[in-house]
Amino acid sequence: MIIKTDPLQQAAQLLEITGYDVESAIAAVHSAHAAHQRLHAHAVPKGPVVVQAKNLRKEYKVGKQHVNALQDVSLEIHEGEFVAFTGPSGSGKSTLLQLIGGLDKPSGGTITIDGQDIARLSDRKLSRFRNRTIGFVFQFFYLQPFLSVQTNLAVPGIFARMKPAEYKERTRELAAAVGLQDRLQHHPKELSGGQMQRAAIARALLNKPKLILADEPTGNLDSANGEAIIELFDKVRKEFGTTVVVVTHDPKVAARADREIILKDGRIAG
């Protein structure tokens, strides 16, 4: 669903969505309005550019047909910014996130993360880049079920060849930061969904990345937990100065972002 950017259009749309529950619709309008304000506030950069995409294009081949997942996307995201990618399914928001995360290579255009053109990096260097510069958070958490929470948190450190004492200390710090200090020796199956996602965020932060990319981080959580996760992202951003990019369908999440980038049919729609 595309959330209209015009307040009046938004109001009408939200009334329809909420089944003409006026209170909910008004709250949604306020939220959308705040988001709208933030959307226009990005014109004033808060710090150096962390993510820069120019004329980004991604084309997939499905059978004999070529599908343009992204077309001519250009954007800049600054240090410490909290940006939400929104848009309907198939609009290209996840593809954009993956290109930014170096999980996939663009078909055209350039993408620079922290000054590095990641499309030119070898697989080995790209892995190292992902490990040190980016923290991924997934909708389904993806914690290793047979490892303790502490070891799950330490995995990026393990791949970075961090010393055990160092990553153990760091996992304790992060667990405390996300409120899981008492759960370090537990296994993921012993945690709630919210706790698992907090653990996943802590894991993403282990190597002190400049950028956190979260793909539907609240998509598998109830609203309270979803709210808590957004709070956590906010906290992370403020405490660590980390740039947060979130792909979401959730208007509440988008409303909490500094900036919402709406994608439609592989292009930035607003």
Partner: protein, 644 residues
């Protein structure tokens, strides 16, 4: 690459997934490899046990034995038959003349020809020499004299080229066709029946095997087999030291044979008792030449005839009757002589006539023996029983038979006569020559290069050919083989086992690889999402490969451990089942001084274990290659998306 500790931790988590499949893989692959483990543990146990017994007997030596192949095919030899016919003809003429001169009757039809004749193909007649006929005996002797066989000198010459360090010989009692008799006096008593013979046909056991299985052998070869406290010196009482089969020892001791159902430990205990009791035990054997044996037989027959006719009024007892000897191995005495003067004169003339044509006076002699050792009995049965197969590895030490030192022939005239002057036609057929080599390789090379197998196709004996001629023509007149120790056999068995172990190992590894590929492939496929997540958070392809390689190593190690466990269990079971039995055999075969020495059917040989571990891990790694490459080539995004 990530640190080994962390890689190990991540790899171990893989072992906790798909447990049923994992266990099935470990069990099936493990059972396959357990065949190798069991064969290694078992075979190495046998080898190491044999090696421990090798300090006994001749087993630590590299001896080869050779027998002359040029004994000649005397039966169909035309020259011998022709010569025998000529001697026969001359003898008939001479006998006729002599009979006429002495005034006695002579019927030449009673003298059978020196050959047997039977129909051949296309109406021809085939002649075969009769080795018991005096003319044939003489012709064969002449032939053997004019065709001397390669003996010790030739053997030494051949073996010296291969740096043999010492030479020995043995002679088995020759087959005597004259009708002489040789028997062990059981309980000091002689048996008088017409079935005994100096050369019993077919396999005999116990005391009955003496006449056909007695050998004289170089002292050096016998020395390791004498029992503690015994020596190979001729006794002050003239007793000849002799090593005898277990069954003969039991008969001499009057021990009741153990039932076939007797336990291995009972048999082992019996062996101990036998060894202790038989040491220094003395016994006599009686040798009668053909005339003496004939008189005893005549006495037996006459007495039987008298007994059968005692109720017949018109029965007339023979005018000259011999009786049974008054003492064991004594001469048959004349117990009644009612011949007329004329009859006596006629008999004297006949005796004169017979002696002119080869008849000898009656002679009988006791040979006094002293038991100094025991050897296992010959095993004539062909058995596929596991213990028999293993036993065959430990029975080759000295051989099975009766063994006295060669010096006995020098000190005892009867022995010398029996072995070297007997009325034998098979020149040197029972002689063996031995060479001692310093290394197994030297012995083996000697055998490989100098052994000859007679060509029975080119020289068909039924057509008068002598297969041994093929060997004589090639300048290799000896049949050669390892002797006295299983050092060569053991070396060969080890090499064969190694080949078997290596090849079968590779085959099993290939099968296990396919089985493991299923499990490893499935596990890698199942872990695609995890791999994708790891890749997203910074794992390099090499890091992922490292985790799966370690997983495969752990899986292979578990398979190896399972295989070792099953293999060991099999070997221990085999040990429980057969070890005591084989120990008993080995103690006797090697004349082990330490009776507490035991044969074990299990032993760990580290190189085999390392090889087994190596091929198991290699099979595991090979099984992981394709699934891993396929997994690493996949797009992690797709794997994350597919899984959601």
């Amino acid at each position: 690459m990530i640190r080994l500790r962390e890689a190990t931790m991540l790899a171990l988590t893989k072992l906790r997934t798909r447990k049923v499949r994992l266990v099935v893989t470990i069990v099936i692959s493990g059972l396959l490899f357990s065949v190798l483990a069991a064969s290694s543990i078992g075979a190495r146990g046998i080898f190491s046990s044999i090696a421990s017994f090798n300090k006994e007997g001749l087993s630590n030596r590299f001896l080869t034995q050779g027998n002359s192949l040029s004994s000649g095919n005397v039966f169909m030899n035309k020259d011998i038959i022709d010569r025998a016919s000529a001697i026969y003809k001359d003898t008939i003429e001479a006998k006729k003349t002599e009979a006429k001169k002495l005034g006695i009757e002579y019927n030449s039809e009673n003298d059978r020809p020196p050959y047997n004749e039977y129909p051949g193909q296309n109406g021809t007649k085939i002649r075969s020499i009769d080795p018991t006929q005096p003319a044939a005996v003489q012709a064969i002797k002449e032939y053997n004299t004019s065709h001397p066989q390669p003996g010790m000198d030739e053997f030494k010459k051949a073996a010296s080229t291969y740096h043999a360090s010492a030479f020995y010989e043995s002679h088995t009692i020759p087959y005597d066709t004259s009708g002489s008799q040789l028997e062990v006096l059981k309980g000091g008593k002689e048996t008088y029946d017409d079935t005994k013979s100096a050369n019993n046909n077919g396999p005999a056991t116990g005391l009955d095997s003496f006449a056909s299985n007695w050998s004289l052998m170089s002292e050096d070869l016998l020395e390791p087999f004498i029992l503690p406290g015994e020596s190979l010196a001729i006794g002050k009482d003239g007793s000849i030291p002799i090593i005898i089969p277990i069954s003969a020892a039991e008969q001499l001791l009057g021990a009741k044979a153990l039932p076939s159902s007797a336990s291995a430990s009972d048999r082992l205990e019996r062996t101990r008792q036998n060894r202790e009791s038989i040491k220094g035990f003395t016994f006599d054997a009686c040798y009668r030449n053909a005339t003496s044996a004939s008189l005893v037989n005549e006495a037996v027959t006459a007495q039987q005839e008298i007994d059968q006719n005692k109720n017949k009024k018109d029965y007339q007892k023979p005018s000259l009757q011999y009786g049974l000897p008054a003492e064991a191995c004594g001469p048959a005495p004349i117990i009644r002589d009612e011949r007329t003067a004329e009859q006596k004169t006629l008999d004297d003339k006949q005796l004169q006539f017979d002696q002119k044509f080869g008849a000898t006076e009656g002679m009988q002699s006791k040979i006094h023996f002293r038991v100094v050792g025991m050897v296992p009995d010959a095993n004539y049965s062909i058995s596929t029983d596991v213990s028999q197969i293993i036993k065959s590895l430990v029975t080759s030490s000295l051989g099975s038979g009766w063994y006295a030192p060669l010096s006995a022939a020098a000190t005892n005239e009867t022995v010398s006569q029996l072995f070297f002057e007997a009325n034998t036609q098979f020149a040197d057929g029972g002689s063996l020559y031995f060479a001692d080599f310093k290394t197994a390789d030297a012995a083996r090379t000697f055998i490989d290069q100098q052994n000859c197998t007679p060509d029975y196709q080119k020289y068909d004996p039924s057509s008068g050919g002598d297969p041994a001629q093929s060997c004589i023509d090639s300048g290799k007149p000896f049949g050669l083989g390892p002797y006295g120790s299983n050092s060569l056999g053991l070396e060969s068995a080890k090499k064969t086992f190694q080949k078997f172990f290596t090849l079968i190992g590779l085959g099993i590894a290939a099968i296990a690889c396919v089985i493991m590929m299923g499990t490893v492939g499935k596990m890698i496929a199942d872990s695609r999402r995890e791999t994708a997540v790891f890749r997203a958070i910074g794992a390099k392809k090499l890091d992922i490969a490292q985790i799966y390689v370690l997983y495969t190593v752990f899986l292979s190690t578990l398979i190896f451990l399972f295989a070792m466990f099953v293999g060991l269990a099999i070997a221990v079971y085999a040990n429980h089942r057969w070890a005591t039995d084989i120990t008993q055999q080995a103690l006797v075969a090697y004349n082990a001084q330490d009776l507490n020495k035991a044969f074990r059917l299990y032993s760990f040989y580290p190189p085999d274990m390392l090889y087994l571990l190596g091929i198991t891990v290699t099979a595991g790694l090979l099984s992981a290659i394709f699934p891993l490459i396929r997994s690493l080539r996949r797009n992690p995004i797709r794997d994350m998306r597919d899984d959601t």
